[in-house]
Structure formats: C-alpha cells, structure tokens
Amino acid sequence: MDKLIYSSLGETLYTFTHSSGLPVILIQKKGFTRKFGVIGVDFGSVNTCFQVAGEPITTVPQGIAHFLEHKLFEQEDGNVLEKYTRMGASPNAATGFSNTYYYFNCTDRFEDCLRLLLHFVFHPHLTPENVEKEKGIIEQEIRMYEDDPYYQSMLGVIRLLYQKNPVRNDIAGSVEDIRGLNRDLLMKCYNTFYRPDNMCLTIVADEDPIAVQALVESVEIPGNVLPGVRRISEPEPAVLYGKMDRKYMDVSLPLFHFAFKDRHEAYRGAARVRRDLAGTIAKEMLFGRHTDFYEQLYAEGLINQEFGASYEIEREFALAMISGETERPEEVENRVRGHLAQIAKVGLDLEDFRMVRASIAGKMLKKLNSPESLGTMVCVSSLQGVQAFDYFTACGTITFDEVDRVFREVFLGDMAVSLVENERSRSL
C-alpha cells in the first residue's frame, strides 16, 4: 500500500490495487461519522461508438451509459437502492459525459455497504422484462429535464460549441433513443467497459487503512478481461458550430448562457489541473462579485444574484460559461463583449490576480469538508488520469501568465449565445 501525505492539508491518501486489477484509493477522515464509498467506471454518455479488438465497430444509441447505471441497481434478489436504505445508508449513482459512478454514504454497517457496492457493480442482472420496465421511469426523468429551462439553456450553448463531439447530446438520451434500447446492447457495453482495470474504487471514511485493504482484498471480483477497446470519436472542428440559439419556454425572465470553447485535448494530467485552476481564477477576475463589471450591471438591474461564470476542463471537453437571467439579454451580451474588449486593451490586474488566487485556494480547501464531494472528485479525477490533490497543492502556484493565457486564448475567442425566452417575447 502506498501512502501520500499532504501535511499542509492535514490529509493522507492510501493507494493499492486489488488482485483483479481494480485501483483503490483510501482517505482516512478522522472524526467524521459519515463514511463514503464510490466506484467509478471510465465509461460515460460520450462512449457510443467503439471497437473491441478483432470485432467490427459497434455503435449504440445515446443514453445507454445512463440506462445501464439505472439497471445495475436491480439484482436477482431485489433492488440495491432498497437494500442500502434498509441498512440506513443512502446510495446513488451518476452518469457524466466521460464517467459513470456508484456510491453509498453510511454511518453504520460500513463493511456490508462496501461489500454490496463491490457485488452489485460486478454482477449485473438484466432481463428483457426489467429493461422494458425501466423505460417508463427514465422517460419521466428525461421529461423532467426537458421542462427545466436552465438545463435547456445550458444544453443549447454546448450544442453551439460542438458539432461532432458527443457532449452535445443529452446524457440520458432522448425518449426515442431509449425506446430503441435492449438487453443485448446494454450487456455489450457492460462487458466492454465494466472491467476492474477500467474502474476505480475510492473510500473516504474514518476507518483503519490496513483493515479496509484486507476487507477489499477479501472480496472476489470477476476479472472480465477483454482485448483492447478503441473508443471512436469524430474529429471536432476548432471553430464554433453555431453562434446563436433561442428556445421558447414558460419562464418569467429570459435565461442566457454565453460560452467559449477551449482546447481540452491539449492538456493532460497535471497540466489539465493547472489549466482548470487558471481558468477558474480568470473567470473570477473577469466576472466575480468583487468586479466593477458585476456591480455596475447589478446596479442597472441588468443582472441579479443568479449571474455567474464558470470554467471547466475535462478529458472530453473544455469551456467557459457565463449565465444568468435578465430582461435585456442583448444588452448583457453587448456589455460582456465590451468588458472583454476593454480588459484586452488594459490587461488583467496583478493585485487582483493575487487576491482572487488566495480566495480560490480557500474555497478549494472547503471541499475537503465533505466526504462525498472529496471522494467523488478523487475517484473521477483518477479515472481521467489526474491526481485530485494536485488541485489543492497547485492552486497557490498558478502564475499570472497562466491566467492571462486562458483569458487571451479562451475569453477573447468566439462567443456562443443561447437564450431561453417566454413565448410572449417571440412576437415583440
């Protein structure tokens, strides 16, 4: 077992590999009552086209990773969600663009909870009947998001940034996509991607690391080794796919998302962490609540508390986003463009950079308070080839130049605009 000590953070990371090839990361959180376990798979909504060595190319419908996530909770002897809650634990799962992960949160019976996690994820029980039954549930989940104007506005802007990249598709797929799913397609994906060496187990709990290791080793995990898998994706043009999108929904005020595209493929490992932090500092320097820009627009009633900006970079995509609600979206758009042009002329401020960096470092530290967010971050980062604790240790070392580069390369690029407005404004 390897041990990594982060003394300035007061945290220690233990890592080892289960005999099946499953990587395991353990963080001992002293004094915490809640215990958290998560197992992630390097398989997400974007992986709908792949080739197993020696076989023809397989293309599956959108939404299949998410559907599979729902189905793994169903076991021959009952529903896993129910089993967890009967033990007083809360389980759940999530499907992202690049990953799927399953987790539990418990305050008691940690060993049983962990054993159950390692059991159900490696023993699928899919039948044509239970696959059919799930369609009604997922259909309602999709409808719920279709009625969510904020989500629709965000999806709208991602579709403007990307033409080929499958992040433009809804993670759950469409109702039509999932109606076309069946057991064989789901099992094909399961057998291809749910392999121990394509997964990662992370535990955040006040438990003795040696005991946890012994416990994990005592669980038998099927090898399910397959020859190599090639993930197939079409090349994405560097330019935006579109610049403007409008949707009409029942909203009180127009919602907007403005976005810029970054080159996700150019950053790996520690470099991706630095780009992420630099992007976060840049968006805060440009649009944070401390800026004159924010104060001015707020005072004019152009934006309200919902206004915010973000920068995200993952293995499959990278983008900066500005979102909010306003009565005058065109005016906000013009002001954002004007603000960026002005900063391009006068440059970012070094003093401001130092202050924002220190405050982001403080905010990062808060993530360590929550076993769930820490565990999920560590697990998902690891699947994407990133050391999660780099986020905490690198923050203080980000340079002004790195932030300035994000500003020039991303925020001065083409901006996509997505609006969700009320039907009534269509006729105006």
């Binding site: 809640r34 799930e134 009409y248």
Partner: protein, 428 residues
C-alpha cells in the same frame, strides 16, 4: 450544541468542533409570518447585504471576504412553521489553516455585526435609495421566477391552496405588490424599531473556540443592548382532524405533470409521537425503501421521483411526484393507497427497520455538515424543550409498529394539486 449566552431576545448557541477545515457563524432574526410584514422583512437582509458604512459596495464586501481566505457570506429568507427567518450566514477557513490570519473568527464576527448594524444611510434618513430600489426589483423578479422551476412552483401552489386561510400560506418573501407602499425611509424605520429592537435573534457558532469576542461585538453593535419585550413566536401548528379534500388543476407549458398532495399530520411538533411520525413519513415516501418508491416508481414505472416529506412545525406532510400527464388518476390512487396500507398496519418488519435506519442515518450525518446542524437547532430552538440529535436518535430507535400505525391514522389528505400540460403542448 450548547446555549452559552441568553439575554432578552438573544440566544447564542455554540458547538465546539475541530474536524472541519472551516468554521461557521450565523445570525437569524425571527418574525411572525404576516402578509403585511413579510415582504418588507425579507427585503431588510437583501438591502443590508449590499453594504455597510465600512464596506459600502458589493465590491468592497467581496474584496474584504476574499482577503479572509475566500470566506463566504450570504443572506437568506426562510420559514419554519409560521415564523419567518431572516438569516445571515458565513463560513470561513478554520484558524489552523489560515496562517496569516489567526484571528479570522473575530474578524468574521466584526464583519457580520457591521453588516447587520451599520448600513449605508441616505441624507433623507433612510436606506440607500438605489440599493432599496434594486433589491425591491430583484425580489419581485425572484418571486416571478418561481414559475421557472415547475417542481417547486407546484409545491408552493399546493401549500398556498391548502393554507389559504392561514399565515403558513404566505410566502416567506411576501407577494408581488406587498411592497408598493414601502420607501427607503419607512423600511429603515422598521429596521431600527422592529428588526434591531424587537425581533428574537438566534446565533449559532460552530468553531474550535468559544466565540467570546462575538458577545462583546454584539453588545458594542447594539444588537444585544435592548432587552425589549420579546414578541411571542407562534409556529402555527394546527390540528385539522377532518377536512374536505380540495382538488386543484392548473395548466402550464410542460411536458411532465406534477402531482402534489398535501396532508395534515395532526401530530404537534413537540409531541412525543413526533419521532413515530418521522418514521411513518419515511416508510411512506422517504427514499428508495419507501412504499411510494417501490410502488409508484419501481412496480408501476409511473414516475422518476415520488416522495414525501414533513413540515414538522406546521403539522403538514407533502407528497411530490413527476408523472406523465395522462397518468394522474392512476398515480393519485396508488399514492393514497400506500398511505392506507400503513394506516391498516400492512407494514413488514423489514420496512419498519429500513425506515428507522434511514432516519437515523440522516440524523447521524447531521454532525458532519455545520449548516445542517445549525438548521436542525434553529427549529429546535422554537420548541418548549430542545432535543439533542443523540436523544432524538434514541427516540427513533424505540418507535414501534403500533406507534407508526397510530400516527398514520391521524394523517388526512387535505389538498390535491396537479400542474399539467396545455393540450398538445411541445416546447418550441
């Protein structure tokens, strides 16, 4: 949580802790919920949040907080039963991680007192007119924007219908138009005479050391100086053992229908039966082990979510679900049938144990998030006798099947609210 200071209308609760990277401090002003005052009361923290004489702009406030390692501060308006809560909340890096700022706790206390007691005042002797105008407009926008989130909109409409004759039906933000007669001067007068002098105040501090400096700061700031008579706070619990079922259907541009049912629990918030009611509601619709999840979702595939929760202080229980617009009658029948099952005693030992384990897990987990712990004790502080989380857990453990049946038999359906789609609607 210990009550370490009580004087007049002010109570200070302290929880010693050293397992977090952060400490928290919150100050809550309490007022009876009335149509006349709700809007103005809610506006006060929003205006104060804009700045004090020391930190007169959003920029100055945010920069000051950034200098304190990215400390967070925010205001919030909420209600518990028929008590309106005006909250000022902050969290900041624990002194152990704030190398250059060992007295960060004292500084945050100073800042909070300054924001609450030292607002920007105009020459006319009122709040800053621009801040007043902008926050009024934001509050109105915020009230209007409830329609954007159909789930919470349906919930609110259900409560408004159920409690139209009671103060609980009033939104914690008041209603559009309620603020029409307000001016910066009248609101400021109310702030001085009512908010600062008469409202009961609850202060919560989760930190490594007792906040001794805070008491001095509060006294110096004048928050504690007036021992004026305390307005009695009434949670507004009401027993309604018999009611005529109301049914309301409303239409919106949605693809998914929202079916909400409001019940009267007829169990008082400080009743010895309350723990049994909590177990009952959890068994009915609190999580994947519940009857609603197992039947409405898993067995009949009618919904992605169908769950119940309690409003302890007012004596209400709500069911919320998202369903296909054509399935309303079937879903309604199924939901009500699950409650009848419990009333008739059709509960397995596993269901009862599962519900209890779920409740206990939730209560144990409270100690791991500072804000949820404070939230719990804010509610407890309105009861004759506060119950610690530990005692509460013991009470839950001793709940029997008979207890659950007894409290379930007192629950009656009051209002069925359905938000459904306009005929043939699709999003444009």
């Amino acid at each position: 949580m210990h009550l370490i200071y009580e004087k007049g209308r002010v109570r200070l609760y302290y929880m010693p802790t050293d397992k977090f990277k952060t400490e928290t401090l919150s100050v809550t002003f309490c007022a009876p919920l009335t149509q006349e005052k709700a809007y103005g009361n809610a506006l006060i923290p929003m205006v104060l949040n804009r700045g004090s004489k020391t930190y007169p702009t959003t920029g100055a406030v945010t920069k000051h907080l950034m200098g304190l390692y990215g400390a967070s501060f925010g205001v919030d308006v909420d209600k518990r039963g028929e008590i309106q809560l005006l909250q000022f909340q902050s969290d900041y890096i624990a002194p152990a991680y704030a190398q250059n700022c060992p007295d960060i706790g004292r500084q945050m206390g100073e800042f909070l007192v300054d924001i609450i007691t030292n607002p920007v005042v105009s020459d006319a002797g009122g709040f800053d007119p621009a801040y007043f105008r902008q926050e009024r407009s934001n509050t109105d926008q915020f009230i209007r924007s409830e329609i954007n989130d159909k789930q919470s909109y349906a919930m609110r409409r259900c409560i408004e219908t159920m409690c139209k004759e009671e103060p609980f039906g009033i939104s914690e933000l008041g209603s559009l138009g309620d603020g029409d007669g307000l001016t910066p001067e009248t609101l400021y007068r109310d702030y001085q005479e009512n908010f600062l002098q008469k409202m009961p105040v609850r202060i919560f501090c989760c930190a490594m050391q007792e906040p001794t400096a805070l008491i001095e700061q509060l006294e110096a700031g004048g928050v504690l100086t007036s021992g004026a008579s305390v307005q009695p706070l009434d949670l507004g619990y009401r027993a309604v053992p018999k009611c005529t079922l109301q049914e309301v259907t409303e239409y919106a541009e949605v693809l998914q229908g929202k079916l909400n049912i409001g019940f009267r629990t007829n169990t008082a918030p400080d009743s010895l039966d309350y723990p049994a009611l909590y177990v009952m509601s959890t068994l009915f619709g609190g999580g994947p082990q519940s009857k609603l999840f197992m039947n409405v979702r898993e067995k009949h595939s009618l919904a992605y979510y169908a769950s119940s929760r309690l409003e302890r202080y007012k004596g209400l229980m709500y069911v919320t679900s998202g369903i296909d617009v054509g399935n309303k009658e079937q879903a309604q029948r199924l939901i009500l049938a699950q409650l009848e099952e419990i009333q008739q005693g059709h509960i397995t030992a596993a269901e009862l144990e599962g519900a209890k384990a779920t409740v206990i897990h939730g209560l144990r987990g409270l100690s791991d998030t500072q804000f949820s712990l404070m939230n719990y004790y804010v509610g407890q502080s309105f009861l004759e006798k506060a119950t610690s989380v530990e005692t509460y857990i013991e009470q839950i453990q001793s709940v029997s099947k008979e207890d659950v049946i007894r409290v379930a038999q007192r629950v009656v359906a009051d209002t069925i609210y359905f938000l459904t789609s306009k005929e043939g609607f699709r999003h444009g």
